[in-house]
Amino acid sequence: MVQYTHARLDASFAALSDGTRRGVLEQLGRVDASITELAERFDMTLTGMKKHVGILEEAGLVTTEKVGRVRTCRLGPRRLEDETAWIERYRRLWDARFDELEKVVEQLKRKERGNGRKDRR
């Protein structure tokens, strides 16, 4: 049925939920740019743009490199993780899910035992 991936995805979706950040990704897809250039292009303050880039960086969508006084931004490592890492994430999802299932099963077992005692009385 439904399976999901974890925290990394949360970060990606959060990063992509903002129009400016999507615009920044599009822009960086065409050409690398400094934070100053991006701030100008999107008509915002340096501080504001730094914040957006920080969020994109955290999500792995953008990397930055400081050369001299200029911080250059480019698209991040491809987000296509290798298969092993993906399967491990998938395992963790199911592990968390099965832990919850275990609790439900435990409750049901207890309830059954309770009912059994009542019947014997």
Partner: protein, 169 residues
């Protein structure tokens, strides 16, 4: 000491395993501490299913859960992720054999969605759960892995993401 490394059965956490079993198949296994009939019940009664299918760590809210658990019966789960639009996941149960086997389709992702088979095998009061996602082709599973999606889940969101990434290449 042996007792330490081997762990005590009562405290040792059951292990979940996962692997790509073949070009088209993903498999997950786990032993649950309870009889198969109870595990099956928790898997097929909506009020119980809702309690475990969405671990809190996922940050998802289950908005609705409709399950008509019989061969040909439909299911539909609707989730919300943060401030995002609700996402629906749906399909049909194709086999329902209490307490040992359950098969369903995953149709939200279109034709490339897998068919999921779960078997419940009781061994001394515990139940070995084996869950297999069988994709229609190697390419479909490769694509699911590449997109980060699993089992059709979040396909819609991923299509948007892929569309965006596509424009960036």
């Amino acid at each position: 000491m042996d007792a330490r490394t081997a762990g005590e059965p009562t405290t040792m956490k059951n292990r979940t395993t996962s692997e790509r079993k073949s070009a088209r198949e993903l498999i997950v296994t786990r032993t649950i501490n309870g009889p198969a009939r109870i595990v099956f019940e928790a898997w097929t009664k909506p009020e119980l299913f809702k309690q475990w299918w969405v671990p809190k760590s996922l940050g998802l809210t289950l908005l609705s859960c409709d399950m008509d658990v019989r061969p040909g019966g439909k299911y539909k789960l609707v989730f919300k992720h943060g401030g995002s639009e609700p996402m629906a996941f749906y399909g049909r149960y194709t086999e329902v054999t209490p307490p040992s086997r359950l098969v369903w389709t995953n149709e939200e992702g279109g034709e490339d969605g897998p068919v999921t088979t779960v078997t419940f095998e009781e061994q001394g009061g515990k139940t070995l759960v084996v869950l297999t996602d069988l994709y229609p082709s190697k390419e479909a599973l490769d694509a699911a892995i590449a997109s980060g999606s699993t089992s059709g889940g979040m396909n819609e969101t991923f299509e948007q993401l892929e569309a965006l990434v596509g424009t960036l290449k």
